[in-house]
Amino acid sequence: MKAFGNIHPSVLMMYFLSVMLVSMFASNPIIQAEALFGGALFCLCIQKRGTALRDAGFYISLFLMVAVTNPLFSHNGKTPLFFLNGNPVTLEALLCGVSIAVMVIGVLLWCKCYSEIMTSDKFLYLFGRIIPKLSLVLSMALRFIPAYIRQSRRVSRAQKAMGLYSGKSISDRVRNRMRVLTAMISWSLENAMDVSASMKARGYGQKKRTDFSIFRFQRSDCALFAVCIVLLSVPLVGMAAGVTDFTYYPGISRIETSPAAVAVYAAFGALSVLPSVLEAKEAIIWKYYVSKI
């Protein structure tokens, strides 16, 4: 995850938002399939093999569940396949379920990619521009939470080793939790004193702060931004003009194959595989460098 992760956070944010929104609101199966394919491909690029395999199981079962649920509850459509408890299970509803499942899993995969790529510091950087105070507070919170968890584990262990309310009964457990909590409140206050001394010692609150970050908007970010805008505008215009409209009820509409629709499919397809292509390119360039050495 070198190539795509190094892109400027603002471009990344725009990219993820546009892919997810388009795939959520375009009910067209081609676009949904493209989003799913792009998301899955990119997930494979940035994840370890083992976890990808484990995740696949989860996604497939989720897929089946969503796809099957829809026809059980929705009885619209004109082609009944069979009857269940006197209710028709229709082909249209089944296909609509599949489409929803594809969309949901596509968006989930993209969310997963988002959380891998858009780390907290990138998020903070973007929102720190808007509200600088908030970004500092968030950064401090992210610092505090793991420290708090670690300390509360230590306290809990120390209390257990003294044999205080460490039995297995519910009352013991509740009391133990309460004790750890009160101890942690004292600890938090104590910790806050040190942090505030450390902040004051480094001049906090004396002047108007500047906001430093390690991210810089480079020319490649600019180029990518332009590409994204172009690739995004095609499906947006297409969707607004109704080129890719698709309905399941009462009958399944035909998949649009007009030149305009094909252009939309192509543009969105390109957009959704863009990160994987960038990763692949980086990998190939790297191999090439290594071979030259």
């Binding site: 950064s139 300390q151 003294m162 942090v195 004051k200 480094r202 108007k208």
Partner: protein, 554 residues
């Protein structure tokens, strides 16, 4: 050129009977490396905090402080004077290393281009490049403290004030930190004012030592003059125990000559004055009772995919002995202790406490009149608002009469000398006091076996002596003590047997004399100085005794 002048400074905390500082006078020249030492509670921290006006405590202050000739009050830039505190953990403000480095400069409103340059410069000076983009939470204690130092240094201070910065670090991280300070002083000409307990390493590199006692300055002079100065005040001054081993041996022998500071000088000093062949002192055979803690082929790992921390550990700890486990950082010493305490489960092997397997102790029976564990951070032991409440909660668990409870509580507080602390909040106590109170709390369960994790961390020499005496008293009452420690000197003085934990095993377990005499590097400073004369003299007292027994100087 003088950079800091303190004139007749006195300070009293609100509602305190005694002043924390009285009539302090000293100056600091630009480029000096000054070490401030003294037992905890002598006013070092108060003094250092008063110098840095942003963190100055509230109270009655008289006298004046001048920074670069101007009164402290007129100082406007917080960056001029850097301040580093003891706890590496709680000083870090933000979640990423790069952000932490930039934090001070952001506060001063420095433009981002300048921040980028200065942060880059400092990160490479301190060797932070490799973890520059990491989360601050993932760093080791040593790295955290180095980050705290670096994030003060980016502000380009003229004077750096450090309040026991190595107190919470292991010896190797502490040496690294001290070496970095020395580099800053030598290469950048930075003026440093350092409060420190561990004098062995800072004594030789300091330009001047200021020794404090009870809120006043006891001695102020070159490192070499401190030993003689203290001897002149009182031949057996109680602060002597904090001095480096070379100085203590020189003081103990009392035969004049220049006072040595380092191991090398100490070795030459001994050679000059005493000569002869290397003698191995006779070592009586170690007598012991039956085993109380026994590990048989114990294996442990945290998770299935992680490497083994304990690989077939077998060891016996006998009744009534003090057993010290030494070993490097991250070797798994603490883990081993937690496995004995039943807090972690070994996946193979047996752990026998008084001949019964740990897992066979049902409910709380293991922690009642049997085994007690004092963790590294004594704060984790307290859960209530006063020390008394915390202690009485423990007595209530012991299923004894009400009158008996009170008696036990008073008895133990008297024994550990904490009676005057009972009504205070545990967090308001100093590190040494917290530890004593925590020890009192775990001792109330009347353990036969006491497990201690790094008991000397953050303690001054005086508190260490106290702890040693306490452990010996416990031993005399038949308690078995198992400690894990980095502190070689403490182990040598206190333990009946020492063992090295390395690569998941106890490599050797022997009496301190045999254990340390066999080691070349991993041994006490006193032993390194004297080993060519007395191979197995391990502590300063032993060396002095041996020298004296040979009879006078050559």
């Amino acid at each position: 050129m003088e950079i800091l002048r303190v004139e007749d400074l006195s300070f009293r905390y609100p509602k305190a009977e005694k002043p924390a500082l009285s009539h302090i006078d000293f100056t600091v020249e630009s480029g000096e490396f000054i070490v401030l030492c003294g037992p905890s509670g002598c006013g070092k921290t108060t003094l250092l905090r008063l110098l840095k006006k942003e963190v100055a405590p509230f109270g009655e202050k008289t006298g004046s402080i001048f920074f670069e000739g101007a009164p402290q009050e007129s100082l406007t830039c917080a960056g001029e004077m850097g301040f580093v505190q003891q706890n590496p953990e709680s000083q870090i403000v933000t979640d990423k290393v790069w952000h932490e480095l930039a934090f001070g400069l952001e506060n001063l409103g420095v433009p981002t281009d300048v921040i980028r340059r200065r942060v880059g410069e400092m990160a490479s000076f301190f060797g932070i490049e490799n973890w520059f983009r990491q989360k601050t939470d993932e760093l080791s204690g040593g790295q955290k403290q180095l980050l705290n130092l670096a994030s003060v240094m980016v502000m380009q201070p003229k004077l750096l004030i450090l309040d026991e910065p190595t107190g919470q670090l292991d010896p190797i991280a502490a040496s690294d930190f001290i070496a970095t300070l020395q580099k800053l002083n030598r290469e950048l000409g930075l003026t440093i004012l350092l409060a420190e307990h561990r004098l062995e390493e800072v004594f030789p590199i300091a330009d001047r030592i200021i020794m404090m006692e009870d809120g006043g300055i006891l001695l102020n002079g070159e490192p070499r003059s401190i030993g003689p100065g203290l001897s002149k005040l009182d031949a057996a001054h109680h602060m002597s125990c904090a001095l480096p081993s070379a100085v203590r041996i020189w003081q103990g022998l009392d035969i004049g000559g220049t006072c040595p500071l380092t191991v090398k000088e100490g070795r030459e000093f001994l050679k000059r004055n005493y000569s002869g062949q290397t003698v191995t002192l006779p070592e009586p055979e170690y007598l012991h009772e039956e085993a109380t803690v026994e590990m048989k082929n114990v294996w442990f790992r945290y998770e299935r995919d992680l490497p083994d921390i304990m690989r077939g550990v077998s060891v016996k700890v006998y009744r009534g002995e003090i057993f010290s486990i030494l070993g490097g950082n991250g070797a798994g010493k603490t883990t081993a202790l937690c496995v004995v305490a039943g807090l972690l489960k070994a996946y193979r092997g047996k752990i026998l406490i008084n001949g019964k397997q740990v897992k066979d102790y049902k409910g709380n029976t293991l922690y009642r009149r049997c085994l007690a564990f004092l963790p590294q951070d004594p704060q984790t032991v307290f859960a209530l608002d006063t020390v008394r409440a915390d202690l009485s909660e423990m007595t209530e668990m012991m299923e004894i009469d009400k009158s008996e409870r009170e008696k036990r509580l008073d008895e133990i507080s008297a024994r550990l000398g904490i009676s005057h602390l009972l009504d205070r909040h545990p967090y308001d106590l100093s590190g040494g006091e917290q530890q004593k109170c925590a020890l009192a709390k775990v001792l109330l369960s009347e353990p036969e076996i006491l497990l201690l994790d790094e008991p000397t961390k953050g303690l001054d020499a005086y508190a260490k002596q106290n702890l040693r005496d306490t452990l010996r008293e416990l031993k005399a009452t038949g308690v078995t003590v198992l400690t894990v420690t980095h502190d070689v000197e403490f182990a040598a003085e206190t333990a009946d047997r020492c063992a090295l934990f390395f690569d998941g095993e106890f490599i050797s377990a022997d009496t301190p004399r045999k254990f340390f005499a066999e080691n070349n590097f991993y041994t006490t400073a006193a032993n390194r100085m004297a080993r060519e004369l007395w191979k197995n003299a391990v502590t300063c007292e032993q060396v002095v005794e041996c020298c004296k027994s040979v009879g006078g100087a050559k």
